[in-house]
């Protein structure tokens, strides 16, 4: 469920418009602020991305361990490789941004 406060969101925001979006999770914890300009919209903070990255790393580790445990069972290894290909897409979309300097 998303609760909108402040100026409200417009599909084509005007310059330096500011709005605060409050997310309500299952635990009812507000988790983010959003600043919207004509140039960009920031949808998530670094801390939340870090959490996602941690989970992505855990999936990769678990799948690699699964491959080791399988002892070469094709049905495990090849399906695990397919999962790893998808994990790579998660890394491209989330993890790769995290270690930028700026």
């Amino acid at each position: 469920m998303t609760k909108l406060v402040g100026n409200g969101f417009k599909p084509f925001p005007t310059k330096f418009e500011f709005c605060k979006l409050e997310f309500v999770s299952d635990f009812d914890i507000p988790i983010s602020n959003f600043r919207i300009t004509q140039q960009r919209m920031v949808f998530m903070n670094r801390r939340e991305m870090k959490k996602m990255d941690t989970r992505i790393k855990a999936i990769r580790k678990a799948v690699q361990e699964l491959k080791t445990l399988s002892g070469g069972i094709p049905a495990v290894d090849r399906n695990a490789d397919r999962i790893l290909a998808s994990v790579k897409m998660l890394e491209i979309n989330i993890s790769d941004i995290l270690d930028l300097k700026s």
Binding site: F12, S25, R40, N93, S102
Partner: protein, 450 residues
């Protein structure tokens, strides 16, 4: 469970697609260094190319340094594949047994180039397409019809897998003929489809003439993604398609050796976004070779696919010509926009009677004239020492009464838009060649001494 921010659902990846440009640059440079190192360590071709230029991966430290990396052209890829390992040659960066996909280029510009991909690469192809389909409004509620002969060319294969990834229901219209495809679209009430502009127009024609179906009125297709030809970025061709189908038509650009690197979004800003999350794209001045960052100057597009590993695409000279748009897109994406899409290919833009002409400019004029069919052909020859340009057209049967007016309008517009006079030949309706995939309407026979 968290709910996505309102507004964020316009993007496949709201984080990446709204990243400030300076951070995108940092990301691109970081990944460029990585893929360069990957290729240098694993491919004999890349290593000798870079060593020949006195370059090592460590030499690339900034965005500006990227231009120092030698470019790869399609002709080089053709030479590479004559070497081992068969059939790809020494640009291959993974063991052969890791290759799971074979595709080849269409061969419109010469011998087809083979393209190996791993599972990860194929996942990446679908990811690039997912960015574009999502930007064009494809959602889980869509039933997507692919009137595409699934074959050796990559064409809409990746579109198929990306639509699945987005969560659409995908209907493969593979071996069906055009009439059967139209009837299946009608029967299943498909909401979206992907095809070349030539085929989109051809299908509409067939639907009306052979089946008595008006696609705009009788079918439920509301968005069409085009590829393979520049038509969807040519305003008059786009308008013809949108009117025929009663649908929004979006352009996309990609290549077998590169990936799907550019797309139009639902805001239709009069150009295509370049996908700066997955590609590093630079425009190079056609004469000086210097990088163009400002709007309004045409340049050759040089591309690096930042995450493609089996046969990396690094500093690929696409031969496509484009210019940056000066305005940001109202969709909020920070990915830059190339104005009007790709305006031509550097090897297609040719001098006729001393005037530089892009075939797309002729198409723009022909398709803007009401009363002409969708088909045309341009033939450039030599008559003595002089260039001659013949334009073959068809007049629609019920517009014959307006023949003189149509021809006058056509001549005037061609003169105005291309600065050239043409020998116009009117051919009987339905006599010019019809194409299903990539049309070959521009023929410069001067190269063959004609």
């Amino acid at each position: 469970m968290k709910t996505l921010a309102k507004g964020a659902d316009a993007y496949w990846n709201p984080i990446m697609e709204t990243l400030p440009l300076e951070r995108l640059r940092d990301l691109q440079v970081k990944k460029f260094k990585k893929i360069l190192e990957w290729a240098y360590e694993r491919s004999k071709f890349h290593r000798s190319l870079y060593q020949g230029a006195g370059l090592e991966p460590g030499d690339i430290k900034s965005y500006e340094d990227v231009v120092r990396v030698p470019k790869v052209e399609k002709a080089m890829m053709r030479d590479i594949q004559r070497k081992d390992p068969f059939p790809y040659g020494d640009a291959l960066c993974v063991p052969l047994e890791e290759v799971t996909e074979f595709r080849q280029t269409s061969g419109t510009t010469g011998t087809p180039v083979y393209q190996p991909d791993t599972w990860q690469d194929w996942e990446w192809w679908a990811e690039a397409w997912a960015y574009l389909l999502y930007a064009q409004g494809y959602r889980r509620t869509d039933r997507v019809f692919l009137p595409f002969g699934y074959n050796i060319f990559v064409a809409f294969w990746a579109g198929h897998y990306a639509a699945e990834k987005v969560g659409c229901e995908v209907v493969p219209g593979g071996v069906l003929d055009t009439e059967a495809r139209i009837l299946k679209i009608q029967e299943l009430r498909a909401t979206a489809m992907m095809a070349t502009p030539t085929y989109v127009l051809g299908m509409a024609d067939t639907a009306r003439k052979k089946l008595g179906i008006d696609p705009a009125r009788d079918l439920t297709i509301r968005k069409i993604t085009c590829a393979g030809e520049p038509g969807a970025s040519i305003p008059s061709t786009k308008q013809r398609m949108e009117e025929a189908w009663g649908a929004k038509v979006y352009d996309h650009i990609g290549a077998t050796e590169i990936g799907a690197w550019g797309f139009e979004c639902t805001a239709q800003p009069g150009g295509l976004h370049v996908n700066e999350a997955l590609f590093l794209i630079q425009l190079e001045d056609l004469e000086t070779g210097k990088i163009i960052e400002e709007a309004g100057r045409k340049g050759k597009i040089v591309i690096t696919a930042l995450d493609r590993i089996a046969q990396p695409c690094i500093q690929f000279d696409s031969k496509d010509v484009a210019e940056w748009s000066k305005d940001p897109c109202p969709c909020g994406r920070t990915f830059r926009v190339i104005k009007g899409g790709v305006v031509g290919r550097s090897d297609d833009i040719t001098k006729i009677k001393g005037v530089l002409v892009a075939p797309s400019a002729i198409e723009e004029v022909v398709r803007s004239i009401k009363g002409l069919s969708n088909e045309f052909e341009v033939l450039v020859t030599k008559k003595g020492d002089l260039d001659d340009i013949a334009l073959k057209i068809e007049i629609l049967p019920d517009e014959e009464k307006n023949r003189e007016m149509i021809l006058t309008q056509l001549k005037d517009q061609l003169r105005l838009k291309t600065n050239l006079g043409y020998n116009i030949e009117v051919h009987p309706y339905n006599s010019l060649p019809r194409y299903e995939v990539k049309a070959k309407r521009f023929k410069d026979l001067r190269k063959h001494g004609l």
